[in-house]
């Protein structure tokens, strides 16, 4: 690379890099790499990715081809690098050429990304011109997805368009050697957005004053609305029991756990003990909420009755839960807010009412959050796309998404087989939809519950926006088969002349795991789909299903025996009803001393008996989620569910606290070619243990063991009959880490290949991916109708 060195051979290559390589500082990276290697040539953005031509010594060209993927910037995701030789032109110097927008578009918008270490260093450096700037960002970090208003991804098409760059920022933006080269959200104190603290009846504060007062208010126990990346949060000091209780009351939150934001890992000492994989997630660029087992959980899994945990966070943050949902700051504003003197641990919960979309609009925030908060810490950079915090947990060292949203959306998922342009509308609660075409699917962030008109509107806006940034024009709609789903009615109403295909709920769950593991569908899998409720082809409510499935179709290998679900969703919120239904189905008496009998008010008990007898508003169900509810109630763990899956989560906590135990045994009998698993012996076993004075935890542990044994037995039988050695686990029940681990361990010991979710949630948040795989594969033949 020294000038004057004799040039013996010179080579020129065209290098095409595909994947997530735009809006992530890829061209400056190429520029720097080429210059460092002494190469001449150019680099440009095209609709397909980044295209470079490099010329120089062969070993330098080879090093470039290797390092262009290996050393890519942190936010880039290189899908492929292709290169071909060209005739050398004798060119010198390296240039960044203007974008070429010819040809088909496959532009990928990056997700929003946590503030990087370089920016944090500047944020803390009094000599830096962005010292304490709440909106500091660079090509390696900052808002992306939530500020994009259109394509191409340029400042003019973001909500930063209304903040013209100052000369200093403009210089950095234009300098290929700068970390802020073409960083669309670049800003500084001189030209960027500003903070404001709004307090009812008091003058508005801005800048440092706003920040200082906000922190003072938090320390004093106030509840603040804080504008973040994808929406507003409600924040209060997590160590202030009164403030937490007030927030819970104002938000009508029931017992549902609040997410926490901690200043740093040190702040979590005594609360949780994250392992290496968890630390990586906590500190990584996506910054999801990570569900972590608490150090000292509630002793019995019962809210209210637990001993005071050794952690300093009040029990009210997550009553009865074995986990704490924790995240670290991901915007500069968060870092400034949580810095010493604190508070160093905040409750940070989405600012919305249950099931409604998160509040993003400032006027909405002032109007709708007024009854909830004491003040608003806000700013003037608009949020264009709502995006909730993601939630993940680590199971057996692997990431298990619980909610895939900020930091992940709208990253596309590669598909194992090409699909027609399709909109898969997902499920009704925790709705997430997907657009897909050819080899990619774009999953939306978490939208909300489709009961709500505001959610339906948010759904339409999100579909339009994702369509605009991906260019997918769906010619086909994939929906669930449930006749009462609002998502289905909504899709049909808006379908126009486009075809609408229905996909059975649990088939979609299994197809979603298959797709994320890259299965092309050539061989069927044994699909274990355990969830709360899904509409079955026989009109019953399914949810404890073992299917022999590929993308084309499925047959039902095994399922839980049907029991009546008295009052449908009423049983879901009052697990004692399901427990009583199960006891009755098992022929076991409603003895007065049993927890579900004690929990059921006398008049309700009388009516319930008749209701079950007369099968009045009693849908038959094979739901595994409801079986968890029933056992949770029977064991005296949870009688009323104030949030989704509360009874199951608390049962898992009780089992964990107890440790493994020999499982109860389900009855298994063949009916019409399928194995029917009868939980009656499980209930009989649990009753015997309870009568003998066994602790709650033992019943919980033996039940978990029973379900894992059942899965193992059924899968072995399936392999004998069908020769299938791959098992896919899906459905919301597999958010239960204890069960997921136990099933996986047993199946692996039996020689099965076990597929679990790593990229999309096992719950209905992953449903859309499965729907589109079943309904829209380009190849003919489909199980969808």
């Amino acid at each position: 690379m020294t000038a004057g060195q004799p040039r013996v051979v010179v080579e020129r290559r065209r290098v095409a890099v595909r994947g997530l390589v735009q809006g992530v500082g890829f061209r400056p990276f190429v520029y720097t790499l080429a210059t460092e290697l002494g190469l001449a040539g150019s680099v440009t953005n095209t609709g397909q990715g980044v295209l470079a031509e490099v010329e120089g010594r062969p070993e330098a060209v080879a090093a470039f081809c290797r390092r262009v993927a290996g050393d890519a910037p942190p936010l880039a995701q290189v899908a492929s690098v292709e290169h071909e030789p060209l005739a050398p032109t004798g060119a010198s110097g390296f240039a960044i050429a203007p974008s070429r927008t010819d040809g088909p578009q496959l532009t990928l918008i990056p997700p929003d990304t946590a503030t990087c270490a370089d920016c944090l260093a500047e944020l803390a450096d009094p000599a830096d011109r962005r010292y304490r700037h709440p909106f500091i960002s660079c090509t390696n970090c900052g808002p992306r997805h939530t500020i994009v208003t259109g394509l191409p991804y340029d400042r003019a098409n973001t909500t930063m368009a209304e903040f013209p760059m100052c000369p200093d920022c403009a210089r950095e933006y234009r300098d290929p050697a700068d970390r802020r080269f073409h960083a669309q959200p670049v800003a500084c104190h001189a030209c960027g957005p500003g903070l404001a603290l709004v307090m009812p009846g008091l003058p508005m504060l801005d800048g440092e004053e706003a920040l200082t007062e906000a922190r003072r208010l938090l320390r004093a126990g106030a509840i603040l609305a804080v504008k973040g990346l994808g929406g507003y949060h409600l924040a209060c000091d997590a160590r202030n029991g009164g403030a937490v209780a007030r927030l819970r009351r104002r938000k009508r939150r029931g017992a549902k756990p609040f997410a926490l934001m901690a200043r740093d890992l040190g702040e979590l000492a005594g609360l949780v003990r994250p392992g290496p994989a968890e630390v990586e997630l906590l500190t990584g660029p996506a910054r999801p909420i990570v569900l972590l087992r608490r150090c000292a959980g509630p002793s019995s899994g019962r809210p209210g009755s637990s001993s005071t945990p050794s952690d300093a966070a009040p029990e009210g943050v997550a009553p009865g839960s074995p986990d704490l949902g924790v995240m670290l700051p991901y915007t500069p504003l968060h870092h400034l807010l949580l810095a010493p003197p604190g508070p160093g641990l905040l409750v940070m919960t989405s600012a919305n009412l249950s099931g409604e979309p998160i509040v993003t609009d400032d006027r909405d925030a002032f109007a709708r959050l007024a009854p909830l908060v004491d003040a608003w810490l806000t700013h003037d950079r608009p949020i264009h796309v709502p995006c909730e915090d993601s939630v993940v947990r680590v199971v057996d060292g692997e990431q298990l998404p619980v909610r895939r949203s900020r930091g992940y959306a709208p990253l596309p998922l590669p598909l194992p087989v090409p699909v027609r342009p399709v909109l898969a509308v997902g499920g009704d609660l925790k709705n997430t939809f997907a657009l897909a075409q050819d080899g990619y699917a774009w999953l939306s962030g978490h939208i909300g519950d489709m009961d709500d008109l505001a959610t339906l509107d948010a759904f339409d806006r999100a579909v339009a926006h994702l369509g605009a940034v991906t260019g997918v024009r769906p010619e086909l709609l994939a929906v669930d088969r449930h006749p009462g789903y609002r998502s289905v009615r909504h899709a049909r109403a808006g379908a126009g002349r486009r075809e609408v295909r229905t996909v059975q709920h649990h088939h979609a769950h299994i197809a979603s795991v298959m797709a994320e593991h890259g299965l092309d569908g050539g061989h069927p899998v044994i699909g274990v789909a355990f969830d709360g409720t899904g509409y079955g082809d026989d009109g019953a409510v399914w949810g404890g299903e073992v299917l022999l499935a590929d993308y084309d179709g499925y047959s039902r290998l095994a399922h839980l025996a049907y029991v009546p679900l008295p009052g449908g969703d009423a049983a879901v919120v009052r697990p004692y009803r399901t427990a009583l239904a199960h006891l009755r189905a098992a022929g076991l008496p409603w003895a007065a001393e049993l927890p579900p009998v004690k929990a059921c008010p006398e008049d309700e008990l009388r009516v319930l008996e008749r209701q079950l007898e007369r099968s009045l508003n009693c849908v038959p169900t094979s739901s595994m989620g409801r079986l968890f509810d029933a056992v949770s109630s029977l064991a005296g763990v949870c009688q009323r569910a104030e949030y989704e899956a509360q009874a199951a989560i608390e049962l898992e906590a009780a089992a964990l606290a107890h440790g493994p135990a020999e499982g109860y045994a389900f009855g298994l009998r063949p009916v019409d070619g399928a194995l029917v698993a009868d939980p009656a012996p499980v209930f009989a076993g649990a009753l015997a243990d309870l009568a003998a004075g066994a602790p709650t935890g033992l019943v919980a542990a033996r039940f978990h063991g029973a379900v894992a044994d059942l899965v193992r037995t059924v899968c072995r039988t399936a392999r004998e009959r069908h020769g299938t050695g791959t098992v896919a686990l899906s459905g919301g029940v597999f958010a239960n880490a204890l069960l997921s681990s136990a099933c996986s361990r047993g199946l692996t010991a039996d020689g099965f290949t076990v597929l679990r979710h790593r990229r999309v949630p096992p719950n209905d948040g992953g449903l859309a991916l499965g729907q589109l795989m079943v309904a829209a594969r380009a190849a003919a033949g489909s199980a969808a109708t």
């Binding site: 409604e356 009462g484 409720t533 409510v541 009516v607």
Partner: protein, 329 residues
């Protein structure tokens, strides 16, 4: 419940089977009664069949229902019922004393409603082919000049009024039929609404829509109006009068009171300028003493009914299906 449930399935039968088979301009209105021009008079004409079990229940009987149901269907066009026909379909072996009790209840109800039973018919079917007694009634009445009440006339700005507490009939029937004891006896609200409608029309002939929320309850009635008129309907959950015993029974059984049948209630879509006066007139009538404004007709979300929850949410209220299936996954 199935095709008789008054939900999406019955609507489907009318739309896809009966309307095409019969043709005709009048049936295409799909209202509860038809308004016909005959010899210079405007007549409302309606028929309904009654297959309720049990025949007698707290607050009424199949005889009361057969009169009030048809009288109310006419009243929902603004017509005061004048004459009824009455067909009895008896199952072989039904006791004469039972037939007598039903007939006397029917006669008494007719007198209260101010309608005359002008013609009738009796058939007997084999034992096992009926539930004791089925009744069919048809009725005619005059529609006053200047009155044009149809679901299609709902317009944004209309105020939505319900004449009283909802859910009583459905819960009363269910509790006796299924032997459910809720602690307090729940009485059907079965009543003839002709007089109440007359009192409302005395305020203004310009009532836009009247509907008796029978099968499928308030939810079905509001959805039918919203889709017939192509308007949105917004109601406030808190404003809907649900008696505590109904709320309790529904909570226990897992039902939504908005979907439970009524037999002596109406919903009215009234121009805003007349709403206060109409409401006052309703309060002055015994059958409207608990009348309440529950919502309004809007331009947003056409064809949809939306309930504002006490927590500030906005829940979509769908047309009921045959059965309410759980959706929580």
């Amino acid at each position: 419940m199935g095709h008789g449930g008054g939900g999406a399935m019955s609507a489907e039968l009318v739309e896809n089977v009966f309307a095409p088979a019969f043709g005709g301009r009048v049936l295409a209105q799909l209202g509860d009664s038809a308004v016909l021009e005959l010899g210079g008079a405007r007549l409302a004409f309606s028929t309904d069949s009654y297959v309720v079990r049990p025949l007698f229940f707290p607050g009424g009987s199949i005889g009361d229902l057969a009169v009030n149901g048809t009288v109310n269907d006419l009243a929902m066009s603004g017509a005061r019922a004048a004459y009824l026909s009455c067909g009895f379909i008896l199952e072989e072996g039904v006791e004469t004393a039972v037939v007598d009790r039903v007939a006397r209840a029917l006669g008494a109800a007719a007198r209260v409603a101010g309608v005359e039973v002008a013609t009738g018919d009796t058939k007997v079917v084999e034992a096992g082919h009926g539930d004791g007694i089925y009744l069919n009634t048809a009725g005619i009445g005059l529609v006053p000049a200047g009155v044009d009440i149809r679901p299609q006339r709902a317009v944004p700005g209309d105020v939505v009024i319900v004449s009283g507490e909802i859910g009583l009939h459905g819960v009363a029937i269910m509790s006796v039929r299924e032997g459910l004891e809720f602690g307090v006896e729940i009485q059907s609200d079965c009543a003839a609404l002709g007089g109440l409608v007359e009192a409302m029309l005395a305020v203004t002939p310009d009532l836009h829509v009247l509907r008796d929320p029978t099968r499928g309850g308030l939810a079905a009635a509001l959805n039918e109006i919203a889709s017939a008129a192509g308007v949105g309907v917004t109601v406030s959950e808190r404003a809907i009068p649900v008696p505590p015993q109904v709320a309790n029974a529904c909570a226990i059984l897992g039902l939504d009171p908005m979907y439970v049948a009524n037999e002596g209630k109406l919903v009215a879509f009234v121009p805003r300028e007349h709403a206060d006066a109409v409401l006052a007139a309703m309060w002055a009538h015994p059958l409207g003493a608990r009348a309440a404004v529950i919502g309004e007709c809007v331009t947003a979300h056409p064809g949809m009914v939306v309930a504002r929850t006490p927590f500030g949410g906005t829940r979509v209220v769908d047309l009921p299906l045959g059965e309410q299936l759980p959706r929580i996954c």
